[in-house]
């Protein structure tokens, strides 16, 4: 009997010496570490026993291309001509499926349009064709009316169900914040628009089951490689730019990406300008405050030349000698 209890007794005696807090701590810490180790070994076992099958989306997915825009960097400003071209691409191509709910027509003054131009753009029916849902003032029946500068961009579909019904059950996302809601931002949008290609033979050879389904389109910049959106920009000259710029697919993709940076962050220029002055102010304030600090501390923080045993160089020598001699401390 005594021999059976010897071990627990020794453990208890040890715990008593340790103090109860540290005894429990030792137990809990060891416990968590053990369960973690158990998980790790178990995972490793599964991993080597039945390695996870490689995925086409992991191997063939590409990082977005590089895209340089005038709005990049701390001093970045929008290229208004480019934003106007981007708006034209959005109007003539993207707006067939994608809404721009958070942007209103009056915001277009940031792009360099005057009030008359904005009014004409929104309501003349020549450039912007989608009408705004409204109510007939006499009958109260649902109807539509021409857009006003105070309206937000009306979407192409009345609701999500209609949008899905028109797009093989895929929902075209709202584009207002698209460059902020995707990793890579504008560069991602640009890569996606210019990234359509035929499915590589190599992929099909390696993953015969991963053939792009009908109604989907292969695009290596899209997370799962198969995108419901058909290539929106397919031919050069699809849009005839008002400013005469040659509308290559690449150019259109760049312009609309730049435009979507503006829709997501219309205050970018104001932010950069404010940031510049705040930085200058805080630099100045830090330097001034630092000098004040030096002044206040001038006599409290005495710069004493240390000599003898307390000289850091001598202390280092002492430590070295002690380490060599194997003396603690």
């Amino acid at each position: 009997m005594g021999s059976i209890l010897a071990f627990p007794a020794a453990v208890l005696a040890y715990f008593a010496r340790m103090g109860w807090v540290r005894s429990i701590a030792l137990f809990v810490g060891g416990g968590f570490a053990f369960v973690l180790l158990y998980s790790m070994v178990g995972n490793a076992w599964t991993y080597f026993d039945s390695p996870p099958a490689p995925q086409a989306a992991e191997e063939f997915h590409k990082e977005h291309k590089h895209l340089a825009l005038k709005s990049d960097g701390p001093f970045g400003k929008f290229d208004k001509a480019q934003l106007q071209r981007g708006l034209q691409v959005y109007t003539e191509v993207c707006s067939a499926c994608h809404s721009l709910k958070l942007v209103s027509f009056r915001d277009l003054k940031d792009l360099g349009y005057n009030e008359a131009e904005i009014k004409a753009y929104a309501g003349s029916g020549k450039q912007w064709k989608i009408e705004v849902p409204s109510i007939n003032p006499e009958t109260g029946e649902a109807t539509t009316r021409k857009a006003l500068p105070s309206d937000n961009f009306p979407g192409p579909f009345p609701n999500e169900t209609a949008a899905r019904a028109a797009n093989n059950n895929a929902l075209p996302p709202d584009l207002s914040l698209i460059t902020k809601s995707r990793e890579g931002g504008a560069a991602y949008v640009y890569s996606l628009l210019t990234g359509y290609q035929n499915q590589p033979a190599e992929l099909l050879k390696k993953f015969p089951d991963a053939k792009t389904p009908a109604n989907l389109h292969y695009n290596p910049y899209f997370a799962n490689l198969n995108l419901a959106m058909p290539p929106p920009l397919s031919t050069d000259g699809q849009v005839t730019y008002a400013d005469g710029t040659k509308a290559s697919v690449d150019q259109m993709a760049k312009d609309v990406s730049a435009f979507l940076v503006w829709t997501a962050e219309p205050n970018l220029e104001r932010r950069h300008a404010a940031g510049f002055w705040v930085t200058i102010f805080l630099l100045f304030a830090s330097v001034l405050a630092y000098l004040a600090y030096r002044q206040v501390w001038h006599d409290a923080k005495r710069q004493v030349v240390v000599t003898g045993a307390l000289d850091p160089a001598n202390q280092a020598k002492t430590r070295k000698a002690k380490a060599k001699a194997g003396v603690a401390g």
């Binding site: 968590f32 600090y293 307390l310």
Partner: protein, 440 residues
Amino acid sequence: MSFSWAKPYEPTTPFMKWLDERLPLPRLVYGATGPGYPVPRNLNAWWNFGVLSAIFLGIQIVTGIVLAMHYYATGDGAFNSVNQLIMRDVNGGWFLRYAHMNGASFFFIVVYIHIFRGLFYGSYKAPRELVWMLGLVIYLLMMATAFMGYVLPWGQMSYWGAQVITGFFSAFPVVGDPIRIWLLGGYAPDQAALTRFFSLHYLLPFVIAGVVILHIWALHIPGSGNPTGVDVKSEKDTLPFHPFYTAKDGWFAAFFLLLYALVTFFVPNYLGHPDNYIPANPLATPAHIVPEWYFWPFYAILRSFTLDFILPAKLWGVLAMFSSILLLFFLPWLDKSPVRSGSYRPIFKRFFWLLVLDVLILGFVGGAPISPFRTALGQIAAAYYFLHFLVILPLIVKYETPLPLPDSISSSVLHGEAAEAAPAGQTTKRRGSSAVAVAR
């Protein structure tokens, strides 16, 4: 408050005298953050972060109150009130929102540095145990506030973050699900959850401010610690808080606000997640649900438990995650070394830096998508986290010979010339410079 040589408040104008006799508020301020609070003269830059965190709490409260004036706590309106009304239509709304968003991140940055400073210099040790524990209460309240604040824009990460974090409770058997439903006011995050999170998000910062007052009060009883960990022995060891530490904190605050401004104005979304610019959608789960960066180490601990062992893996994860913070409350009794400062503890010092590295690794693992390698790395790092606090810290003291401590704070700063050191408040002349009044 704490030392016999602390300067008592003397009202200088008849009005202040009148006020002091009726409501001694100026006396309180004078003794707490004025010339009446003697502070060790050898504090290094790591001691600036306490004041800095108070500054960030202030920034959060001020920007938050204004943002709340323009925010709609409804499932339909929340996303647009943030991303259209505040970001586009409210004058300067974009600035308030980015300042608040990044203010939260910077609040956590300074608080983490403040906590690690406490860990290194043994600030949790007697007689400052309650200072440490009140600090942890503040930290827990900050976590709750930050989590609920992140839910308010009602983006995808808001929604799914709320889903995952309230899901912790359902790991507990029997009581778990009813608690979760009670917290959310429904089976999933919805209008009820959003409104109560908004209400609490507005309330908790003021609770934090209250606990901050207790934290400072408890600190001022023994007085501030210092990098040597040696107690204050005489007037020579201290300087009055004002003007010395107001000046030091002042310049450092201006410098740190500069860093904060650079992020806020030039890369305001760098610390956030793009998915939160997609409106909440209960039907579409994001590919990688991750919390904000300041929760990543804990998220890594949660996800590190992958296999059932007696208890379900999820319950282990939740228990470990809660324990990882709660164990810090026991630190004063886990680390029994009589030496406070890590500078004089050769073994402790190495493990401390290992812990810093460990938490950084946990942060990396918690923020990245799951992969077999990263999961294994996270498991090792999580195991080290617990071993560090619960096994290594209690045991170090047995094997460690601390370095000799300086006799006093002033001798550590002034080296051999302590005898010649001028007490604060005296005028000295040196190196041909004109006389400078030190503390007036």
